[in-house]
Amino acid sequence: MRYESDKQPSRFGPPGYAPRVIDQGSVWIMVAAPTLWALHFVASYVVAAVWCARIGPSLTEPRWIIAGMAVVCVALIVWLATQAVRRYGGVFVIFEEITESSERGRDKFIGHVSLLLCILSGVAIAFTVIPGFVFGSC
């Protein structure tokens, strides 16, 4: 199997070259998905709190706002997961230990961790949305 990270150079290029934030060689992909979850979590609290304090007492409308934000965040997380697979060579289940001290080995590890964090963040966002659909009022 050929990985994007097999291409050289990946991180350093000619003068003026600026690597993308989410690309092989960069670690930011690992925190991106949990950050989306955190943003969704905070935004959900703000939406529910403002709605209940100013408009309330029904949660019918804010639950759909929270669900809409969840759809956007999950879509971004799915995109991140595809990047983790395509750009980093991440796989869900590792059948062979990553012992190689190389850029490719590190990318593969980052891709694997990112993929797991994407799944975890998606589940966490679902857990944030569920209470809004169980409770009908503030």
Binding site: F92, V93, I94, F95, V123, A126, F127, I130, P131, V134, F135, G136, S137
Partner: protein
Amino acid sequence: MRNLTLLTVPLLAGCAGRHNWLSSAGAEADRVEGLFWVLLIGAAVIWSAVIGAAVYAQRRQVDPGLEHQARWFIVWGGAVIPTVLVCALLIWGLVILRDITPDKGDLTVRVDGERWWWRVTYDGPDGDVVTANEIRLPLDQTALFRLTSDDVIHSFWVPAIGGKMDMIPGRETTLALTPNKTGNWGGLCAEYCGGAHALMRFDTVVMEPDAFDAWLAAEAAPARVAPDDPGFAVFRDEGCGACHTIRGTDARGPVGPDLTHVGARARLGAGIYAMTADNMARWITDTHAMKPDADMPPYPDLSGARLEALVTFLLSLDHAE
């Protein structure tokens, strides 16, 4: 073995009695108890399976041919199944929480948490019925509790019947209780609220609906106080009416518990002492020895005939026959 038996005695003692949520004297407690048993048995099964798998793996020769299946076993057993189970438990718990916090009930009781007692107000057929530190409920009817607090966060809990729910200053929280066994069940504050937190208790008396209606009507009636009652004269002279209300008299103090029918309650001091003349006399003269930090000031100078008259008067504030 004998020592182990001795150790379990106090633990088992906690499983009986009026504060035990496994006594299941209410529909809401039944729901929580069901969840508890599923969690307990489910956790025991999962724990046994995990430990069993670990022991099996320790004793077995490593077989590289099974590495692939082992990885998938970890993925399913360690990630997929726990996620599904936690999600199911989350939804189940949320549905229980939704059901025990409804908007409507067969009757409404407002409870205000004070340091360290309970102001209780029933929505009676002829208006508010104010009492304190004792809650009576009709059997098999859903009482909707509207819970508030004026000072710090308290938590309203009648373990045997259901609950619990925080009482938050500036907010109103709701809780439903549907008792399904008659009896006297203990209630308490479940959120540390200061010095006498552990002494902030109340009785919850579950009655047949007819008996409850009769009790509520009696509780709604004003007190029967003779104008020349010597105990009431002491009550007035000492300024007790500045803090306490006795409906039917000019005592309208809103600070302390309503005393209109204090003699009809089983306990004093917010569910902690039997309602006896000795306890009442001590409560008046040495309040803080019985309940440290209570807002009520003690009246150590009251003694003899005046104290006796006051105690007799307070205990006479019973329901009309």
